[in-house]
């Protein structure tokens, strides 16, 4: 008995697919590779979002911190615990010290509690060494060990605010998932008990009252409201609260950074997948075009258009499903590895590497659904053709004599014979090229944005002092060999003030993320050149004017020019009118006022808390030497340095952390290019194959194989050239949109729009090369066929 187990229509589909196995494989590879990128990034994103939250919450972060003017004792803590709605309360302190690393002095944040191992808020976890640390010693955060260049058991040279530099042993290593990595911040993180501070001769009193509230559904606004009520109650009882700090609710300080990186990568992987789906639709369209007469036969024997549509949609679904299975199998492993890499970069641990089922659902639904959606149009269009149209299909339209098409060059007329196919091919290549160029442009825009950090700052080092110092003493530092210029600037941590209310800021416990500063910029200073976004810069006469950097402008609710901006420090309010807004990449929120206004408000006439120093250095080594001389000079003048930030180090630190983004974007651009080129090869190859019979006719009329080859090459190069122009044009709005989206999330301002030349040139070379090769091979094959063989070809 003859073997025939399946309904004939499925046998036909299966055998046709086997005949087209190279193209089916190509469609599968394109889908699987781009879907692998999607699976990796979606899976990693799901792990990372869950784990960053789990890690952060495992520290029991304080919802609010109240800065109290006097030392917090146990009775105050107990009293606060008794307030309605307060879940937990504890006294903490963060001491801003300095630590010597080689010849440099880096900032060192020392987190202090009464009981190192027993505290319940802002916790950290022992990794090795002593637990709790013996009195007189420090624990160091694991990411800070490398920054400090220290091993457990060794000692570090530390300058605390009130005592001379002293060596303090490091007896243990801890992991603090609530902090961003020390390397990224270019500072050290250490932990000490109040008893240790006392033993080291420092003030052991704690001034930060950290609290959590009992709430069902928390939000930053709700926490602010409760913190304000609590602070006011304390004030009413005679406790002076001079600032409330409420960071975004249950949000890790680097969560936005992570989300931005993930968004960029997921966006481009999804674009790459869409491109694969378009490739599938284009290839399928060409395949269906070759099947036109067979589809007509199916309809002649009774197949409805929906039966045919269902047949090919089932094929697409099977292809999408197989690609999804492969992508998920590999992608789920890649996601864990990628998540681990990013987590290590952001200093949190992957405690649970399982990928939520929703990630698989996204991959499988997208992997099957998107190709179905994109392929539906060509499939439906082919299956709806009437039998007569299909049976009389000779493969292309012919332009009527005298029409505009008939006036075009012959090779252009040829590619216009199948307008729908041409549109799909151009969409595939144009979209692919545009996305490829956009990926490179976004990478360049991101780099250019970070370059603004150095391009807009024209000094080598910024030094902050614990208290305001005499300008004349500071000016004397200009005499240090190699120092070209010293400019004293007024500086103070501040908050946006609300009249009648306690200052409230959204700063995290590291005092850096989310902070706001009031800065007196010397009028006409050439040390910064932040671009103006609105209004104008300050002049001497702007005694009540202020310029906000874009972060402060957004934090303060985007006031209009001329509107009031109130800045609060230690319970006092400085009332200013908004004069201008500048874009300042690489800094937290800053409110700029004139030195006169600052001095009046802070009573610091003739004194400053910050200097910006320009050196004569022409090399990093020379700059380091000058900074060391400057450090020694400041020590000689007994200046209480809080921190000194050389910008060259910051540049290296940020640059290092850009690597993963840049490499990932390049990898995604590579995938996009590969998918686009596979599409080009497929479309070109099929186009030539379809015309084998036509070439036979041409040869009958005397065309040589060389003439046939020339015709094909001219046509594929036309398609390549038109798609390249389309890609270049489409890259503009796509780059603009991606720059706006990514910049707004990552920097609160659009990325600068950089249109690079590398993308267009690489794409042009690739398009020409692949067009040439993918047209030349089948055209040469067709040219070698005898006329009889060529005329025997179907279609």
């Amino acid at each position: 008995m003859i073997d025939c187990r399946f309904p004939p229509r499925w046998s036909k589909l299966w055998r046709d697919a086997r005949l087209e196995k190279e193209r089916v494989f190509l469609m599968f590879v394109a889908l699987a590779v781009s879907l692998l990128a999607v699976a990796t990034l979606v899976g990693a994103g799901k792990i990372l979002r869950r784990e960053i939250r789990t890690n952060y919450l495992s520290t029991h972060p304080a919802m609010a911190t109240l800065e109290i003017d006097r030392a917090i004792d146990a009775s105050l803590v107990e009293k606060v615990k008794g307030f309605a709605g307060v879940q937990e309360a504890e006294a903490h302190e963060v001491v801003q010290a300095r630590v010597q690393v080689g010849d440099d002095w880096l900032p060192l944040l020392v987190f202090v509690t009464d009981d190192l191992s027993g505290h319940r808020l802002s916790r950290y976890f022992p990794q090795s060494g002593a637990w709790p640390a013996p009195t007189g010693t420090l624990l160091v955060e694991r990411t800070a060990m490398k920054v400090l260049g220290v091993q457990q058991g060794q000692a570090v040279q530390v300058k605390f605010p009130n005592t001379p530099a002293q060596r303090v042993p490091v007896t243990g290593i801890v992991h603090d998932p609530g902090l961003s990595p020390a390397g990224q911040e270019r500072m050290g993180f250490a932990y000490a008990s109040a008893a240790t501070l006392q033993a080291l001769g420092e003030d052991p009193s704690l001034h930060e009252l950290r609290v959590t509230f009992a709430m069902d559904l928390g939000s930053t606004a709700q926490v602010r409201e409760r913190a304000e009520v609590l602070a006011q109650a304390l004030v009413d009882q005679g406790v002076e609260v001079h600032q409330i700090r409420v960071p975004p609710f249950e949000y890790h300080p680097h969560q936005i950074q992570m989300e931005t990186v993930l968004l960029i990568m997921v966006s481009f992987s999804v674009l790459a997948f869409f491109l694969s789906a378009v490739l599938l639709a284009t290839t399928l369209s060409a395949w269906l075009s070759r099947q036109t007469r067979e589809l007509a036969i199916l309809k002649t024997v009774g197949a409805s258009s929906w039966q045919i549509t269902g047949l090919y949609l089932a094929f697409v679904a099977a292809l999408g499903l197989s690609a999804s299975v492969v992508a998920w199998t590999l992608g789920s492993h890649a996601a864990v590895a990628f998540a681990g890499r990013l987590a290590a970069m952001l200093n949190f641990a992957i405690l649970d590497a399982s990928i939520p089922a929703s990630a698989a659902l996204i991959v499988f639904l997208g992997g099957v659904g998107i190709p179905l959606l994109v392929a539906y149009i060509p499939i439906r269009s082919a299956s709806r053709a009437t039998v007569r149209e299909a049976l009389s299909d000779w493969g292309a339209k012919v332009a009527a004599p005298g029409s505009w098409i008939s006036n075009l060059p012959r090779s252009l007329r040829q590619i216009l014979r199948r307008p729908r196919r041409l549109a799909l091919s151009l969409a595939l290549l144009g979209f692919g090229g545009a996305v490829f160029m956009t990926a490179l442009n976004v990478r360049d825009g991101w780099t250019a944005n970070l370059d603004k950090v150095w391009q807009t700052r024209h000094y080598d080092v910024e030094v902050r002092f614990r208290t305001a110092q005499s300008d004349s003493v500071l000016a004397g530092l200009a005499g240090v060999p190699g120092v070209r210029r010293v400019e004293p600037w007024g500086w103070s941590p501040a908050g946006l003030a609300r009249p009648g209310k306690i200052d409230l800021v959204q700063v995290w416990p590291d005092k850096g993320h989310g902070s706001l500063s009031l800065v007196a910029m010397p009028v006409g200073s050439a040390l910064t050149s932040f671009p103006l976004m609105a209004g104008r810069r300050l002049s001497e006469t702007d005694t009540d004017g202020s310029v906000l950097n874009h972060i402060a402008w957004i934090q303060s609710g985007k006031p209009r020019l001329g509107e009031a901006v109130l800045v609060g420090i230690d319970g006092r309010i400085l009332s200013t009118r908004l004069t201008g807004v500048v874009e300042e990449v690489g800094s937290p929120a800053v409110v700029y006022v004139t030195p006169g206004a600052f001095a009046r408000f802070r009573s610091t006439q003739g004194r400053s808390r910050m200097i910006r120093v320009v050196t004569t250095a022409t090399s990093p080594v020379e700059r380091t030497e000058i900074l060391h001389r400057l450090e020694r000079a400041m020590e000689g003048k007994a200046l209480p340095v809080q921190m000194a930030i050389p910008f060259s180090e910051l540049k290296t630190a940020i640059g290092d952390h850009m690597t993963i983004l840049v490499n990932s974007l390049l990898a995604l651009a590579g995938i996009i290019a590969a998918v686009g080129m596979l599409g080009l090869a497929s479309v070109t190859g099929m186009g030539v194959l379809e015309r084998t019979r036509e070439f036979g006719v041409l040869k009958t009329l005397g065309a040589t194989p060389k003439v046939v080859l020339g015709m094909v090459m001219a046509e594929v190069l036309w398609i390549g050239a038109i798609s390249w122009v389309l890609a270049c044009v489409a890259a503009f709005p796509l780059t603009w949109a991606m720059d706006a989206l990514i910049g707004s999330l990552g920097f609160l301002a659009p990325l600068p729009m950089v249109i690079g030349w590398v993308g267009p040139v690489v794409w042009l070379v690739a398009v020409v090369a692949i067009s040439a090769v993918s047209g030349w091979i089948p055209a040469r094959r067709a040219g070698k066929l005898t006329i009889r063989e060529a005329l025997a070809q179907v279609g």
Binding site: K12, V301, S304
Partner: protein, 234 residues
């Protein structure tokens, strides 16, 4: 009963209109064997396409058992064709990737007949046209005559009442063409209505009627030898 009322078909070729059929009036009784003849371009293939529901008229009506085909959409027409009409082409139009057996099973598949039921039916049809031993082969490995027999078996798959054949012997040698025509005669004898489009004029002895088309119009409609011998209805 098939009734063609004032049937017209016009094609647009560039800016020029080509009238393939003009005001054709024709009635074909159930079970009759009708040959439509005419020169190339006379409109006979267009007529076959319209009767088979492959194309739609520009004007006039096609009534099948009193029902107007214009009332069916494309999918309705496809279903109707699958159930009621068997179409045979000059160039066979077999699917090259399916075996002979699968080609014959195909219309049954689209009509919802299971493989278990379709397979013996298809084998029986292949036996009827004398090529059951070729069932497992691919069409391209068969001779032209054999391929046309497969096409005829496929056209009979859902046991349609009407067979429309457009130049079914055009690609065959004389002896094979005769064998194929014998098959049509046998089906006509079994009660099938057959519309045979051909350019050959010496078929009158085999058919009930010979309708001659010229420039899209019915030039003559004469009774054939089969009717005169009482083979069927004219």
């Amino acid at each position: 009963m098939i009734e063609l009322k004032n049937l017209g078909k016009t094609y647009q070729v560039g800016t020029v209109e080509f009238h393939a059929l003009r005001g054709v009036e024709l009635s074909i009784a159930k079970g009759s064997f009708v040959a439509v003849v005419g020169k190339s371009g006379s409109g006979k293939s267009t007529l076959a396409n319209l009767v088979a529901g492959i194309d739609r008229p520009t004007s006039g009506k096609i009534l099948m058992e009193g029902a107007d085909l214009a009332g069916l959409d494309e999918d309705g027409l496809a279903r109707w064709r699958g159930q009621k009409v068997g179409v045979i082409f000059q160039s066979f139009q077999l699917l090259p990737t399916l075996t002979v057996l699968e080609n014959v099973m195909l219309p049954m598949d689209f009509a919802g007949v299971s493989v278990a039921e379709a397979k013996p039916r298809a084998m029986a049809l292949l036996a009827k046209v004398g090529i059951e031993d070729q069932a497992a082969k691919l069409p391209l490995s068969l001779s032209g005559g054999q391929q046309q027999r497969v096409a005829i078996a496929r056209a009979l798959a859902n046991d349609p009442a009407l067979l429309v054949a457009d130049e079914p012997t055009g690609n065959l040698d004389t002896r094979t063409a005769d064998e194929v025509l014998d098959l049509f005669t046998a089906f006509a004898d079994q009660g099938k209505t057959i519309l045979l489009v051909t350019h050959e004029r010496d078929l009158s002895s085999r058919v009930d009627r010979v309708v001659t088309l010229c420039d899209g119009r019915v030039e003559s409609d004469v009774v054939g030898g089969r009717a005169r011998l009482g083979g069927s209805h004219a």
